[in-house]
Amino acid sequence: MSDATLTPTTPNPIRVLVAKPGLDGHDRGAKIVARALRDAGMEVIYTGLRQTAEQISSAAIQEDVDVVACSILSGAHNTLLPKVYELLKAEGAEDILFVAGGVIPDEDIPFLKERGVAEVFTPGAPLQAIIDFIEARFPGRGRAAGQPE
């Protein structure tokens, strides 16, 4: 009986905050990721450019998101990303899945993973890999099973 093109909304979509910490003015990557997550059936809250760690953590708390995804191209990842995580932790929100993407050298990734970042997606990472990584953490909350891609 169901219409093939119109999909019933999932009652409990995965909520993701896509944020741009610090001083870089390029958000094409963040917008493409935001769009891909949207098309995967997630509710994406986009913060806009030049966010402080405090703004990101505060938005994540108010929006009660499942995931915080930070895009960072400025080179300040080793400072800003652990700070976002510390602020979330201070609010008792370290259960939020924290992922990052952008221009991040391989040698910095182990450091970030020790400081709360669950995964780092560097340039060239397929969008589907980001979607799969998030969906795997929230079984039963992705797009309804059997829906056409």
Binding site: T5, T10, R38, G41, E43, T47, Q55, A59, E63, G92
Partner: protein, 326 residues
Amino acid sequence: MSLDDPDDLGARLLAGERRAAARLLTWAEREDPRAEAVLRAHAARLGRAFVLGVTGPPGSGKSTLTNELVKRLRAQGRRVGVVAVDPTSPFTGGALLGDRVRMNDLATDPGVFIRSVGTRGHLGGLSRGTSLAVRALDLFGCDVVCVETVGVGQSEVDVIRVCDTTLMVLVPGLGDDIQAIKAGVMEVGDVFVVNQADRDGAQRTAREVNAMLDLSHAERRPPVLLASALLGEGLEGLWGAIEEHRAFMGDPRDPASRAAARRRAGARHELVGLAQRRLAERLAALRLNERGEAPLDALAAQVARGALDPFSAVEALLAELGLGSA
């Protein structure tokens, strides 16, 4: 630190914990019974906040204007909640909620709580859970709750069921005076503002809306103001017009006030909607008949092959629910 228990969560929310308020909003959005439990337990505290609706077409500046109005409320020391609604995709169920982009000034203010909401399949400009979300922010102690609708077209009027005062945000260049006299969203504004008033045609838009409102038979003729949220112009006057409407409506705690009458109408509409949904749930949950068929399916099959008319079938369904006519 579990946020799963409604009793515990209610207490933490009343103590001012933002994460508890955020979780109640999540339950409200999902229409989770735990949201009902918390709101039921604290029903006596509800109804205190002034609820301001902000509606208008996409790109008219609702979020930017809301941001500016909230800053003024904060300067008066009032606690403010914002429920900002954006559309959910009917194709994927996903959404991109971008109203926060215009509200970064408020992101770390402890006296402001902003929540982005997807419509999740509901038409009418709001999500189905919006009225519960407003109650959650009311319970959290917000003095004012701003409800920003999706960008509306011509018929999304749910905002008047939820809000005490509705601000209609218009911009120049969306059509001629015929658009202004059409029924629908143009009828829900208590205060009209032509935003982006630095653009060409703003005066003309204001004139056309004024001409439309001059023909109105409403008890109170809404004012039309010019403003530019981005340039910070016209905002004092706009807030003054909102306060004036609020004073005209009176104190919602006084049953004889216009504000109370509007809230009653909104509650009535909400109750009918809830009753319809509960009825649909109970229909779907009816026990199978002796042939192992769901009563709804069995009756639908009879109607489809012409063996039964739909009106008799409905009577039979209501009888199954114990609601048959005497």
